[in-house]
């Protein structure tokens, strides 16, 4: 039974717990998921868009840098005569002018004839009459009106690239070439730096770095090549495309087709991190400006926000969990205490019902017994009447019969008393309720009991609080209550030793409390619970009916009052009557209980 109940409450607790968890977590997680996804996507797109824009701009910047340099050389080739260009001194003058205009970008100038021989040179490398006939740039440049080479080490063993323009004058074809300072060019790209891992570089179609080589990125080169130049193999002919673009450029139509910007991700095998690449083609598609950044770095804010929300979720989850445990436990405690109360109420109701049905039974029995008892008593009376006739001499037997008859009458009276008490115990209505002054009523009952008390060697000790509020009750019933309790108190006191019966009245909140105490034998613990049960008595057979206290109990209950008992064996017993005071009415009407007498 107890185990069953335990399991039942455990079940309720679990149900409540899981419901709370479900109801709290479902929307929380749902929201987290949706918002997280949306935010993630939006933030990512925005970041990537920004990066793409940045890369595109930088690519354009680099493109225009290259175009400018090329344009400068083109201007020189167009404006200056062969004569001016073919002498070292002349070139030196031009170079000086250029360097003044463009701080250190143009490193040197050279005039190369159609066979690859450098006819004139100005610059710091003292290359003199170098032969470029076999140099790849020369082979390519001689086929095009203008040319920008990839970065290469060249004769000097230093990374550089060449801008060359084909010129024609006095029936000869020549190339005006200039070396562009690699360091200056590198700066353009290197200044693109973001976060801790964001950096940029330029790579050409062959996968060669056109800027400071970044060795740790060599693994990513195939991916970049595949993405930026799909389908083109290393053996392809990049020069064709390049030349087309440059031709267009020379015609004044700058190749400003929507710059090809691609975003893709790869992984960095060395560190196992995801890497974002944003790449844009430049130099007419020959080169690609690649910006690369670790994803964790690029989306640092996003990841921080994600971490914070996960932390919040965790903390919230823990809080919800704790709440769910606490709440379910408290709810179950409430429920179980409610159940207990209900059970106690049930018990009380059953008790009351028992008492009521017992009362009805008693009343029925009393009523049915009354008639036969009456007949018996009358018949014995009739016998008595007949015995009075003169024909019965006053013999021993007649006297004995008369004694027997009087005994029958006595016992008949006793029966009558019992049945009357039973009936009054069972009676349900007493319509005459009045505003009673409890003090007056007690004083009056004391007067009635004075004789009985003196006989039992008992003194009364009265402590009546003045100005008690009135109590609405039937005077006769209240008298019965007080009289019963006083009689019990007197009976509890040993006749030889004597004792004191105390009566106190007081106000307690909304109640008038009457305490009736005695210094008698006390009631054993085991009997204390049963004192209000009908027919429960400890008095010798024939002395008590066991109905006194149950009648008292019934009357007090009817008044919506309470009666409690305290007792200690050998010390005495106290009965407490709690009677509801009539609302706010402190005055006792003149015709209160004081004038009512008789039970």
């Amino acid at each position: 039974m107890a185990v069953d109940r335990q399991r039942y409450y455990q079940g309720i607790k679990q149900t409540i717990f899981f419901l709370i968890i479900l109801v709290s977590f479902t929307p929380l997680l749902g929201m987290m998921a949706v918002m997280g996804y949306e935010f993630h996507t939006a933030y990512r797109e925005k970041t990537l868009a920004y990066l793409e824009q940045l890369v595109e701009k930088q690519a354009q910047g680099i493109d225009s840098f290259l175009e400018e340099k090329l344009a400068d050389i083109q201007v020189l080739a167009a404006v200056l005569s062969y004569r001016e260009l073919s002498s070292d001194a002349g070139l030196q003058k031009v170079l000086q002018t250029l360097q003044e205009q463009h701080t250190g970008v143009f490193v040197d100038l050279g005039l190369v004839d159609s066979d690859g021989l450098q006819e004139a040179y100005a610059g710091s490398f003292k290359l003199g009459r170098a032969n470029y006939a076999q140099a790849p740039w020369f082979i390519q440049a001689s086929r095009q009106p203008a040319f920008i080479s990839d970065v290469f080490l060249g004769l000097r063993g230093l990374p550089h690239f060449i801008v060359a323009v084909r010129g024609r004058s006095e029936n000869r074809t020549w190339l005006l070439r200039s070396t562009i300072d690699f360091v200056a060019f590198n700066l353009l790209v290197e200044k693109i730096r973001m976060g801790s891992t964001g950096r940029a570089f330029i790579i050409n179609r062959e996968g060669e770095f056109q800027t400071q080589a970044l060795d740790d990125l060599s693994d990513a080169v195939p991916l970049i090549l595949n993405t930026m130049w799909p389908g083109s193999t290393k053996s392809g002919s990049p020069d064709v495309e390049g030349s087309r673009n440059l031709v267009a450029m020379r015609d004044g139509q700058r190749p400003r087709q929507a710059a090809v910007v691609r975003t893709f991700t790869g992984s960095d095998p060395a560190r196992g991190e995801k890497v974002i690449y944003v790449a844009a083609l430049l130099k007419g598609g020959d080169w690609a400006l690649v910006y690369q950044q670790n994803e964790a770095d690029a989306f640092a804010n996003l990841y921080r926000a994600r971490n914070i929300s996960i932390l919040v979720l965790l903390l919230g989850g823990v809080a919800i969990l704790a709440m769910a445990i606490l709440l379910s436990r408290r709810m179950v405690r409430r429920i179980s205490s409610g159940d207990q109360e209900k059970e106690m109420m049930n018990e009380k109701v059953i008790e009351a019902g028992k008492l009521a049905s017992l009362g009805e039974l008693a009343a029925g029995i009393a009523h049915e017994i009354n008639n036969p008892v009456a007949i018996m008593v009358e018949e014995s009376g009739w016998i008595g009447d007949l015995l009075e006739e003169s024909e019965f001499a006053d013999s021993e037997n007649v006297r004995e019969i008369k004694r027997a008859l009087s005994q029958i009458r006595t016992q008949g009276k006793r029966c009558k008393q019992i049945t009357h008490k039973l009936l009054s115990f069972a009676r349900k209505t007493d319509p005459v309720e009045k505003h009673l002054d409890v003090n007056a009523l007690i004083t009056e009952v004391i007067e009635l009991s004075e004789q009985h008390a003196r006989f039992s060697n008992v003194k009364f000790n009265l402590d009546l609080a003045p100005g008690l509020p009135a109590v609405l009750a039937s005077p006769s019933e209240m008298q019965q209550v007080v009289l019963n309790l006083i009689n019990n108190a007197i009976d509890a006191i040993d006749q030889k030793e004597g004792g004191v019966v105390g009566l106190t009245t007081r106000i307690e909140g909304n109640e008038v409390v009457v305490d009736i105490s005695d210094t008698g034998s006390g009631i054993p613990e085991a009997n204390l619970k049963r004192v209000f049960d009908p027919f429960f008595t400890t008095k010798p057979v024939g002395k008590g009916t066991g109905l006194g206290l149950s009648i008292v109990y019934g009357i007090i209950k009817k008044l919506n009052g309470r009666i409690t008992v305290q007792s200690a064996v050998g010390v005495g017993t106290t009965f407490h009557l709690h009677l509801p005071a009539t609302g706010g009415e402190r005055k006792v009407p003149e015709n209160g209980a004081g004038t009512e007498t008789g039970l």
Binding site: V373, I375, E378, D385
Partner: protein, 143 residues
Amino acid sequence: MAKARVLLVDDEEPFVATMQKRMAKRDLAVEGAHSGRDALAALDRGAFDVVILDVKMPGMDGIETLREIKARHPLVEVIMLTGHATVQSAIDGMKLGAFDYLMKPSELEEILAKVNEAVAKKSGHEQKIAEARAKNIVLRRGD
């Protein structure tokens, strides 16, 4: 004074029989009836001073019988004999004109005392009525 004529009504026949004997021995003219109908029939047949009426009877109960008696024979005094110790049934009886009530089982002496009171009251009433009649006659004569 003539014997007081008493009608004892109770459904318990042995009770009625014994009471009848005992009251007759005490110089009362007692008749018995075992139901409300019997009682009314007896009252119609002959004159009675007092009716001792049990409240609880099968068929026509005491209160009903009392109402009927008071309607037909207003001068007859009725003493209710009640098994219920409730004040209520007694008060009901008194309201309907019963002289008094006694609780069952009662001592014969109590019953006799009550009967005597009732008879006294009834004869008082009758005397007043007689005097009133006499006055009426005197007044008429004075006309």
